[in-house]
């Protein structure tokens, strides 16, 4: 069964509220927003992963040069 998407509408003029189905335009906008958000989140997570990988690689190279963990930590700050 397909979920009926609803919104709660609060009328500030009289304090009443009602639950109504989303309009087709609202459902389409909701889907557009969701897809845009998912794409942006995927991009952000990919950038974070790439940064973490680069940091790990840099630390490994510094260790190979003989730097101590304390010296490497000092470089990060």
């Amino acid at each position: 069964m397909t979920e009926v998407l609803t919104k709660v509408v609060v009328n500030c003029a009289d304090g009443t509220s009602e639950i109504v189905p989303l309009s087709p335009a609202e459902i389409a906008q909701r889907e557009t927003d969701r897809l845009a958000w998912e794409a942006q989140e995927a991009e952000r997570l990919a950038l974070e992963a790439a940064k973490a990988e680069a940091q790990a690689s840099a630390v490994a190279k510094l260790e190979a040069l003989g730097l101590t963990a304390e010296e490497i930590a000092a470089l990060k700050n």
């Binding site: 609803t6 919104k7 709660v8 609060v10 909701r30 927003d33 958000w37 940064k51």
Partner: protein
């Protein structure tokens, strides 16, 4: 200055959106206090549509999430964080939204801060600066989540009117 509660709503059933209509045009600014949690799914942010429109927004944000700082831009009306269904049980994200000069025939500036509650690995603290480049007075505000999830039962949104005054006093009613 006076801060007057216009309306507050706590959801008794999950809903995809929460909308305030027929907003009185008698105040100077508006404030939304949002306590929210998604009924399902991962982290999402709260989007505002004003007068039924999701267009003409620009938004900038800075955030910390417990591991890395982040910043970004958007052409949507970002005003808060709805939370994550994996957040600490029975906790709700908290967002505060300030809309200046909502009846003026100029573009509307919106500032917001938001956090979600979690004892897990990721908790967001976000600041938003959002512009609605529209000269119409704001008469309705609709809130949705980018994650596509419903707002969970217990989510609460309160709309306040801020009215400027000359006395310098502050009254909350």
């Amino acid at each position: 200055m006076t801060m007057t509660l216009i309306e507050t709503k706590t959801l008794g059933t999950a809903a995809a959106a929460i909308e305030f209509t027929s907003i009185p045009q008698t105040h100077t600014d508006l404030v939304l206090l949002i306590s929210s949690r998604p009924a399902s799914g991962a982290i999402g942010v709260i989007l505002a549509a004003l007068n039924g429109s999701s267009a003409n927004f620009t938004s900038r944000q800075i955030e910390g999430n417990g591991s890395s700082p982040n910043s970004g831009t958007s052409t949507t009306g970002r005003v808060g964080v709805v939370g994550d269904s994996g957040d600490t049980a029975n906790t709700f994200a908290s967002s505060k939204v300030y809309i200046t000069n909502y009846t003026a025939s100029t573009a509307k500036v919106i500032s917001a801060d938001a956090v979600n509650e979690t004892n897990g690995t990721t908790a967001y603290q976000i600041l938003y600066s959002t512009l609605w480049n529209n000269t119409a007075a704001i008469t309705s505000i609709s809130l949705t989540s980018t994650s596509g999830a419903n707002f969970a039962v217990g989510s609460t949104v309160s709309l306040y009117g801020i009215t400027k005054g000359s006395s310098g006093g502050v009254v909350v009613s």
